[in-house]
């Protein structure tokens, strides 16, 4: 009887053994989660974030570089803060900030380090480094911070900030990770791939205390970090800052281009802000402040704002008409029967004279001649054919489409074509009398300051242009994107420029530009313009280039609410030209005048709290043809919004 108990015992032993084997089989073979956890335990992935490329100006001056900073990371389960208050004082943060940072870190992962405080300066780091030893779970990581050598060109340089969730999702491939920096605007965004370099990854084995015990798989999977490529720009940093200073207390843009290359020498968006503001860890506060500023400093006016070109468009009209043979250089028009007034009297004798004095009636006739410069007797059909021809010619100046500058969110502007008017009025229901406002750059035309500067460059070049661009070298000098090496022709004969340019020279020397703004010893060719503004005082425009016979610089200056191009915009442009050509300012009188001029529109109402810059400004700045048509009564409110001048 008792002898049989051996079988019970043996069965029991066997059952336990079998149970253990099954358990081991499950643990080791069926369930692979332990394998993953083991790797997570002992294999640490160390990312090496490369330095972002630096940005230089045309003379080798450093514009943007990286400052080494330290990020403070926290591993929640290890973190034990005995005296939270003291800890907060040490890091100069509020108690609730501490709590929310801790909660955020813990919700990401309790076992992995999360960002606690970004970008501690070297001074802060030195101050707290030793003390932090007493706080387990906190560690420092080397990082870098974008730093700008001067508070200028903020919008075009752009800024970097932590990649957003949406951007993470949208990215092609899987390069970016949570917490990575990402170029958000300007050059930083346009050249993100070149600037960022390539992140290096190192796998190391670590023991339970996080002490590195050597490379994993002998470094087979490790990749070296590759530093970002430097960008060499065509910007003249001194000129840029000088132009900036001239635009203080003004809203508008200055764009200067080297005509022979298309390189942008200076690109001012006023009002400006210090780009360093968006590089620090106070990014969000500063960003909100800028976004709520009623003058919209974050709006990159040279490429995003658009205006009617006004009288500056007359040079294009003259060139187009000459090329089409609608007029000749000596064509004279009388003012009779023209529904437009002239600024003076008797400017209708020739093209140069009309340009010099910006004669409205003359260009009314020019445009009319262009539209009817065909055999069609029906004015509707003739206008249609003429406008199509005109449109194709003007489009060659880069108007109506994006130029392709190396900045994101360039606005394409508007150049009305036949289809557009067919839509508005109906096919063959419109003719010259419906569209004549185009003749002096009004109506449905919309252009950006950059495009106007490009027009100046085209005229300076006598007929061709290179797409304006900021970066002339990626990684090394003279290595721009290939599209910036393509010469674009306008198809206008050189001789026609020789007709128009003397008029432009005359405009500066004895025409629409104020006498005070003239620059001694430099022959500037220019054209002023006034862009009608339904919201307030008209915007002042000036385009020009110099020296007229051998242009080194082409420029467009836009001063919002500056009214007369010759009074507000031309002095700014001329001073920039003088500084660029002479390296100094001799005309102190006009410099003094313009520095003290304030054209800021008065904004009484508090800033609209709309974060979408693009939308809110569209409403304010752009009177698109459709909006105009829909909102006709706007003109009635013209008087109610107080103008600046």
């Amino acid at each position: 009887m008792l002898d049989n108990r051996r079988f019970v015992i043996i069965t029991f032993f066997g059952l336990i053994g079998t149970a253990y084997l099954l358990r081991l089989f499950h643990l080791q073979v069926l369930d692979d989660s332990y394998s993953i956890e083991s790797s997570a335990n002992s294999i640490k992935r160390i990312t090496e974030v490369p330095f972002r490329g630096q940005i230089y100006d045309r003379n080798g001056k450093l514009m943007v570089y990286n400052t080494p900073v330290y990020d403070l990371l926290v591993t929640p389960y290890k973190a034990k803060v005995q005296d939270t208050l003291q800890f907060c004082r040490l890091l100069n943060i509020e108690r609730h900030t501490f709590d929310s940072l801790m909660t955020a870190a813990a919700s990401y992962s309790r076992a992995k380090p999360s960002m606690f405080i970004r970008q501690l300066s070297r001074e802060d780091f030195a101050r707290i480094q030793d003390i932090m030893v007493d706080y387990p779970g906190f560690e420092f990581a080397k990082s870098s911070m974008r730093t700008y050598t001067a508070p200028t060109m903020a919008n075009s340089l752009g800024y970097v900030s932590e990649i957003t969730g949406g951007q993470l999702k949208k990215q092609e491939g899987f390069y970016y990770q949570q917490g990575d920096y990402y170029g958000q605007s300007g050059l930083e965004s346009f050249y993100e791939k070149e600037l960022r370099g390539r992140r290096g990854v190192k796998f190391v084995m670590q023991n339970v205390n996080g002490v590195v015990k050597g490379s994993w798989k002998d470094g087979e999977l490790d990749t070296m970090a590759v530093a970002g490529k430097n960008l060499y720009t065509g910007i003249d940093f001194d000129l840029q800052q000088y132009a900036d200073s001239l635009m203080v207390n003004k809203v508008g843009s200055v764009v200067a281009i080297e005509p022979s290359t298309g390189q942008i020498l200076a690109i001012v968006s006023a009002p400006n802000y210090d780009p360093n503001k968006l590089a620090t860890r106070h990014f969000s506060e500063n960003y909100r402040e800028l976004a709520e500023n009623p003058y919209k400093p974050l709006f990159n006016r040279p490429v995003m704002a658009s205006y009617r070109p006004g009288s500056t468009f007359k040079v294009i009209q003259a060139l187009a008409a000459l090329q089409q043979g609608a007029i000749s250089s000596n064509t004279a028009f009388s003012h009779a029967g023209v529904p437009m007034k002239c600024h003076g009297g008797g400017h209708g004798n020739s093209v140069p004279q009309a340009v010099q004095h910006s004669c409205n009636p003359y260009f009314y006739r020019v445009f009319q001649s262009m539209l009817y410069n065909n055999d069609l007797s029906n004015t509707y059909e003739a206008s249609r054919t003429g406008l199509a021809k005109w449109h194709d010619q003007v489009a060659k100046f880069g108007i109506g489409e994006r130029l392709g500058v190396d900045l994101p969110s360039e606005y394409k502007g508007s150049l009305p074509d036949v289809e557009y008017y067919d839509k508005v009025y109906g096919v063959k229901r419109w003719k010259f009398s419906n569209v004549y406002s185009l003749s002096i750059g009004e109506g449905e035309l919309l252009i950006t300051p950059l495009k106007m500067a490009n027009v100046a460059a085209i005229i300076a070049n006598r007929g061709y242009y290179y797409t304006p661009h900021i970066v002339s070298g990626i990684g090394k000098k003279d290595n721009p994107l290939p599209e910036y090496k393509i010469r674009h022709e306008t198809g206008i004969d050189r001789k026609h420029f020789e007709t128009v340019i003397p008029g432009m020279v005359g405009a500066v020397e004895a025409g629409t530009v104020m006498r005070l703004a003239r620059i001694a010893d430099v022959q500037i060719a220019g054209k002023t313009g006034t862009s009608q503004n339904k919201k307030g005082a008209a915007h002042a425009i000036f385009i020009g280039f110099a020296p007229a016979d051998n242009p080194k610089i082409a420029i467009a200056a836009f001063v919002e609410n500056g009214v007369w191009g010759g009074v507000s915009a031309a002095p700014v442009a001329n001073l920039v030209i003088e500084r660029y050509l002479k390296g100094k300012t001799e005309n102190k009188a006009i410099e003094n005048y313009i520095l003290h001029k304030n054209y800021m529109p008065h904004i009484a109402a508090p800033a609209p709290k709309k974060p979408e810059i693009k939308d809110s400004t569209k409403k304010k700045e752009l009177d698109t043809p459709l909006a105009e048509k829909k909102a006709k009564p706007v003109s009635k409110t013209k008087e109610t919004t107080s103008p600046g001048e």
């Binding site: 008792l2 053994g17 081991l24 080791q28 083991s38």
Partner: protein, 445 residues
């Protein structure tokens, strides 16, 4: 002693069996058991080497400056010990069983006062550079004493309850002393004598009740005690309801109610015991069995990390000296109590299965050997050996795979440490010696 000798001599002579003196030391030794033993010790040694191996400072397995080298020395001394055991007459253990027992009880008392404290338990005696743990040897002494007591033909586990008292005494005395020196793990090993007692006639209800108790304890940890009580009552109600009418009238109801009441009392008692009597580290060790993640950085750490180590070995393991979990100190006590993690991580399921099979094979072999003994003394002792090795195997491997609470007892023949290797080797080889002398003994049962 002389009397016994002459008595047995005469018996053998009377029976005309082979001469008493064996020709060689290893004659009649059970080679299956010995082979498994040798495999276990060697595999253990290699795994200790792997557990302490540091890829940065590679050392030789024979290097005496680390544990693998020291273990090699222990193995060497163990071989000498085994030779001694094989030389000594098997009757010695029978004769001196109580003396040995008494000696170790005295030693256990001595460590309480004069022992050196290591890892919070005052259970070590320092002899020069080495420390030995009398608790490890107490199992052996107790086994001998129990065998000696039960070898008395007058003692029976089936006839009278009176004989249980000395048995309980023999077991409890060293167990209590070990508990006092804070070696709870070694104390629990004394439960392994249940295997032998069951074989010798202890009613099956006793181990059954023990297991029910264990299950209730686990339930107490898992579920609120009121729910368990409610559950027991519901089951009791069902039992009574489903009972045949006759049984119900014949005291069946009363019996069920009494059993249910006792169980509820156990649950509440356990709850009280766990929360108010147990020390904090003991409580957390039990809690961790139920949910290792209740304290992932504390008591649960060992369980989680050892499961990760074993689990990450997959089918074939990471390879000798390639384990990351064990190498980088994620698993604590990896060369001693958690040595099985190294096996699991570096040799995978195949390696683990080999080790489990070696143990189950050895234990079953010991049962077979025990059953073929002619004396009750040898059989009882054999069952004690099988029970002790089984208990260590079950608890130690069970805890590394999360099936048992973390109880710090070594894996026989594998774990680093002289005391443990010596005691298990002595334990085993005394029995193998007895077995080898089987032809010369006379059955008395």
């Amino acid at each position: 002693m002389k009397n016994i000798h002459s008595f047995s001599n005469s018996l053998i002579q009377n029976q005309q069996v082979a001469p008493r003196k064996n020709k060689t030391l290893t004659q009649n030794l059970d080679w299956i058991a010995v082979l498994i033993y040798i495999l276990c010790v060697l595999i253990g040694w290699f795994n200790i080497y792997a557990a302490v191996y540091s890829p940065e400072v590679p050392t030789d397995i024979f290097d005496l400056s680390h544990r693998a080298g020291v273990q090699m020395m222990w193995i060497g001394t163990t071989v000498l010990l085994i030779i001694c055991i094989l030389v000594v007459d098997y009757k010695f253990y029978d004769t001196f069983a109580y003396v040995i027992y008494g000696l170790f009880v005295l030693l256990l008392i001595a460590v309480l006062f004069a022992g050196s404290e290591i890892n919070g338990s005052r259970s070590w005696i320092k002899v020069g550079a080495f420390s030995i743990q009398p608790a490890e040897f107490a199992k052996l002494a107790t086994s001998l004493a129990l065998a000696k007591y039960l070898s008395d033909p007058a003692v029976s586990l089936t006839r009278s309850w009176k004989d249980y008292v000395p048995i309980a005494g023999i077991i409890c005395l060293p167990a209590l002393l070990i508990l006092l020196s804070n070696e709870t793990g070694s104390m629990l090993v004394f439960a392994s004598f249940a295997v032998m007692l069951y074989r010798e006639g202890m009613p099956g209800i006793i181990p059954a009740v023990g297991m029910v108790m264990a299950i209730l304890i686990v339930l107490t940890l898992l579920v609120l005690k009121w729910f368990i009580a409610l559950g027991i009552l519901v089951v009791a109600g069902l039992v009574i309801w489903l009972m045949p009418k006759g049984t119900r009238k014949n005291g069946g109801t009363t019996a069920t109610v009494v059993v249910a009441g006792l169980m509820i009392a156990v649950v509440f008692g356990m709850d009280f015991f766990i929360n108010n009597v147990l020390q904090k580290h003991q409580r957390s060790r039990i809690m961790v069995l139920v949910d290792p993640y209740s304290d992932p950085r504390g008591a649960g750490w060992n369980v989680i990390q050892s499961k990760i180590a074993i689990g990450s070995g997959r089918l074939a393991g990471k390879g000798f000296l390639e384990g990351t979990q064990t190498k980088f100190d994620f698993v604590p006590e990896q060369s001693t109590d958690f040595i099985f993690c190294t096996v699991g991580e570096e040799h995978g399921f195949i390696g683990s299965a080999v080790v489990v099979c070696l143990f189950v094979g050895l234990i079953m072999r010991l049962v077979v050997l025990a059953e073929r003994q002619r004396t009750r003394f040898a059989r009882v002792y054999g069952y004690c050996v099988a029970g002790i090795i089984f208990f260590h195997f079950m608890i130690n491997i069970g805890m590394t795979i999360g099936l048992m609470p973390v109880i710090g007892i070594p894996l026989p023949f594998f774990s680093y440490g002289g005391s443990s290797l010596w005691s298990f080797s002595i334990l085993l080889f005394i029995f193998l010696k007895m077995d080898s002398q089987r032809p010369y003994t006379l059955s008395r049962t």
